[in-house]
Amino acid sequence: MSSASVWDRPTPRLQGPAQSQWSKVTSLSTAAPWVLNALDSIEDLARLPHNWDGYGSPRIDPKAIAAARRFVANVAFDGLPLPHIAPVLGGSVGLHWRCGDRELEFTFHPNGEVEFLRVLGADLDRDENMETGTLRHEPDTAGLKFLLWMMGSR
């Protein structure tokens, strides 16, 4: 199987999306139920002190927090589960979703860079089952496409 075919499986259509990737303003009153919890959890990362991990990491950067919150607000749609939210070394914020045998990780860095890792299948020893990269342009739109890909396993 080529790596292209692995990643290009059909994705589902949005069913009653709370948000659109084209939205400029997010209406939290219509957001998926988990969105407010996620936004609060991301904001809570700001409370972590310097050296929160014991390895000397700086505090989580407000710019990374803002980017992660904006992303969540813009990509949320009904059926998407609550992501796992994690502090990341260097002051960054991590979001991790899993749906069946598909996983997505996004890392929001203070410099505005958004890195992703997507995983298909449990066999991580196969290199083609993982893909990494950077969302260089319109990360919300690109991220939403990845999330729709992930939900395609349902």
């Binding site: 991990d53 990780e105 990494t132």
Partner: protein, 124 residues
């Protein structure tokens, strides 16, 4: 500083410990827990760990009160295309660093961090 070398005096079956912050632990649908990839990354590509046979678990835990201890073997770190190198620090000769093999791409480093996170077992 000369490049790190894989220390073959650290046997493949040597158990290593890595402190993982509790917010970097993910609970699977079946209730099992595993460390996130981010817990096995480092800005300088040197991930700290301790040789279990030479370290005191309670001391490591005391040093990282907000963390759990992830356990894996030197072989598992090497299977993920890393070297394991001793890095004794003051009053702690059990400290090692796990580094990517020379020439490994940034993308591969991240994939291998995910692999090692999968292999590591979180102690209760």
């Amino acid at each position: 500083m000369p490049p790190r070398q894989d220390d073959l005096t650290i046997a493949d079956d040597a158990v290593l410990w890595r402190a993982v912050h509790k917010l970097q632990i993910y609970r699977e649908d079946d209730g099992s827990e595993r460390a996130q990839k981010w817990a096995f990354e480092s800005e300088d590509n040197e991930v700290s760990a301790w040789i279990a046979a030479e370290a005191d678990l309670e001391r490591v835990r005391a040093r990282f009160p907000e963390s759990r201890i992830a356990e894996f073997t030197a072989a598992q770190a090497r299977e993920c295309r890393n070297i394991v190198s001793r890095d004794p620090v003051e009053d702690d000769p059990s400290h090692v660093v796990i580094c990517p093999v020379p020439g490994k791409s940034n993308s591969q480093i991240k994939k291998d961090a995910r692999r090692l996170a999968q292999k590591a077992h979180l102690l209760p």
